[in-house]
Symmetry: C2
Subunit: 455 residues, 2 copies
């Protein structure tokens, strides 16, 4: 009998795992069960469909079930896995279209069930115009609501990446936008001075922030949301509310079937992406991973990490041998004209981890000053005062933050010190860089600071 | 008596060394002797002044003698050092304006005399319109010649970076351009398939190449160049000839004073940038360095390397402690719409170094396919078949070659394997990258190829 790999979930990790499993083992029987109608789509592109920058939602769909079928991968959409029996290696699946149950056996299983938005326990969630943004159905609902109702004002609950990207999209549509955030400041993973710059930039683009306050109640008129009230008693008029306070891993199936969870509450896996049950793998937003600097378990629900993990899970489930060593927490987003990026630990989290950090912030241009089109950026670089080893970086500006942060992330991967990075042989020519890359300038400044601190 | 640092040469390495020495030691007496009227300029920007993209030559000047004086660094321009006595720690300097000789003592010395264009031993070099491009005077002459004589056609001798950048500039000015190259192909440091793409792109932009042939003779009319003849007997009409066959280090002073040269013929230095004579340092195009992959001495006359070396020489000469570990041969240039970059060894040079290389070429977009403004690039990644360690990369395309090559160069610095790089945690968001960075895709493909080769 042909060995059968079943994958639960097909957005990022699941889709990637299926493709990689096929490349690893041409003979494997591969099936993907996906609850939504769409599979293999880029959720990270959704804010740009809302803003209108990307014309059609179908552009976000990378591969259709038909595309997978060409690689002999069967995709069952609108199918929910309702039960998992790992001792019998069996799944119960309900076809959401027909309502029929069926049973599916597997030899190897990959759980890629993703995550879902956290909903606050408040009154008014059922009102029309109270939405989340995660699935393609969420996107469809949000776009349709804006088209039909033409809200003049919107409130976004939560000032994380998605909340801020959405705020940008709403301003592009001319919608007055408030962002309500429980914490005293936005972007808690960034150091305060970087987060402040993003805050100021958003304020300059007429985002109204309500910080240190949280959503208490939603009020409606004729079944439709019209205002929100905060804990502190503030009332904000809003014809649209998007709940973006965060996500949690979809672990119901894992929990119910005795697959172990880790310290973060997501599914625990080893570096082969295998759960505590042999032959059962997990990948993407439903599972946890390792922080490569602290060595601690961390939950990092990001699309690129899901793809990396899916690739490893797919290869291993198909009989190959691959490892996923963990993450550095690298992330980037665009907020109006600013590019904002982070890798590794912030200075704050390095302090919390008692890593004795030292840091510099430098301002630079991303190409030769005289060459047209150059843009500015600030780099904050953080290292261990003891060893000089780089611990993290944050980059903000209109310039090439993506390039700088990727160099820094690769430096983390190589466990480089400031002195190593200061002497990096990076590519220089006036259209592409300053004669010394800004990241070299930052590393040099930090190395000098460390030398002085030691002297 | 205040300790005195003298620096010979003030373009890239010398200017940087002076600035770094001042930051390292505020009390040091620092003087820079510079033969040209200009100091601290970006020679790499010259092609863009010629093309007209950069309006004024003065934009290339980073700091003037006055700027240096504010940091208490004395700069003597138009002063040539004619003799060096290292046992008496004394220089003889001629002021080219007044013609007067003077004697200068030093405690520490940095030689940053740079390099000069190689001139072929042929007839007709004295003709008007036969030029080189290196110094700011060269730039002035070339610009003036084009303005006054309005040549309809030009020949560039040598198809290196400068030759190709100049060809681009000349085409921008509407000048019919031929490039004569002795070798059978352009860009010998790149692998043939990458060089071929640059060649084709240049040909599409109406550059005429004459390969495998060299300049034999220059003919003139009324003292002005009008045509060249090649070794094979070909005649090419040209109202302007630029000799860009390469440069050689300015080592006359070093040689005459017994400062040792290395295997490459440039000044030998240790990793503190100190020559074989204690207290005498060298930096920039006049000295050699180490190839960090092969461990061999290498001469790499590039502006960014000069800056890195100048910084280390300046710090050490001022009593600090810094090391320069060598280079990976990273370089980038723009040829019309193509960005072309290299780091580490080409497959050819890895073969020559008997490093058992294996390689892949992948094509990718530099951001999410659906996000506007994405551009294409091809990455060739080379690794050791035995260890999986990355040996080099070449990137070509309209896309972000600079970002990809800098990630690869940082991977070389960290001695990463394909497997390491395949799991890099790089920054993803649709405006900045594909969900998996093209360099990750390349590393993954190469890692799979290595696994298959071993299986």
């Amino acid at each position: 009998m042909t060995e059968r790999l079943v994958i639960i979930g097909g957005v990022a990790a699941g889709a990637k795992a299926a493709a990689k499993a096929r490349r690893t083992n041409p003979k494997l029987d591969i099936s993907v069960y996906q609850e939504e109608a769409d599979i293999s789509y880029s959720a990270c592109g959704q804010p740009y469909v809302i803003s209108g920058l990307i014309g059609q939602r179908k552009q976000l769909v990378i591969r259709t079930p038909d595309d997978f079928l060409k690689d002999d991968i069967q995709v069952m959409t609108r199918c929910r896995v309702t039960a998992l029996n790992t001792s019998e290696k069996k799944l119960t699946v309900i076809d959401l279209t027909s309502g029929k149950d069926s049973f599916v056996r597997y030899d190897k299983l990959i759980i890629a069930t993703g995550a879902r938005p956290i909903l606050p326990a408040i009154k008014g969630l059922e009102l029309e115009g109270v939405l989340t943004l995660r699935s393609m159905s969420d996107l469809d609902r949000l776009i349709r609501y804006i088209e039909v109702m033409k809200p003049k004002n919107a409130a976004i609950i939560g000032a994380g990446y998605i909340g801020l990207e959405l705020a940008d999209s709403f301003r592009n549509l001319g919608i007055a936008t408030s962002v309500v955030e429980k914490a005293e400041r936005i972007l808690p993973k960034f150091d305060p001075e970087i987060a402040q710059r993003v805050y100021d930039h958003c304020v300059a683009h007429e985002i109204e922030f309500v910080l240190g306050d949280s959503l208490a109640k939603l009020n409606g008129t004729g079944g439709q949301v019209s205002a929100l009230e905060t804990e502190s008693g503030r009332s904000i008029a809003c014809g649209l509310v998007v709940l973006a306070i965060g996500v949690r891993p979809n672990i119901d199936l894992a929990k119910q079937s005795g697959i172990g969870l880790g310290a973060t509450g997501a599914i625990a896996v080893n570096n082969r992406m295998e759960t505590r049950i042999q032959g059962v793998y997990a990948a993407g937003d439903c599972c946890e991973t390792t922080d490569r600097i602290t060595g601690n378990p961390i939950w990092m629900p990001l699309g690129d990490i899901a793809n990396l993990q899916g690739r490893v899970a797919g290869e291993n489930a198909a009989g190959g041998c691959a490892e996923f060593p963990g993450v550095f927490g690298t992330a980037i987003f665009k907020s109006f004209d600013l590019n904002v990026a982070i890798t590794g630990l912030s200075e704050q989290s390095a302090l919390q981890a008692r890593l004795n950090p030292i840091s510099v912030i430098i301002s630079a241009w991303d190409r030769a000053r005289y060459y047209p089109g150059g843009r500015e950026l600030d780099i904050k670089l953080i290292a261990s005062k003891d060893s000089g080893r780089i611990l993290g970086a944050q980059v903000i500006g209109t310039g090439s933050a993506d390039k700088m942060i990727d160099i820094a992330a690769t430096a983390l991967l190589g466990k480089l010190t400031c002195e190593d990075l200061e002497n990096a042989d990076l590519a220089y020519s006036p259209p592409f860089s300053q004669v010394l890359s800004p990241i070299i300038t930052a590393a040099g400044a930090l190395n000098s600071k460390i030398k002085k601190a030691r002297a």
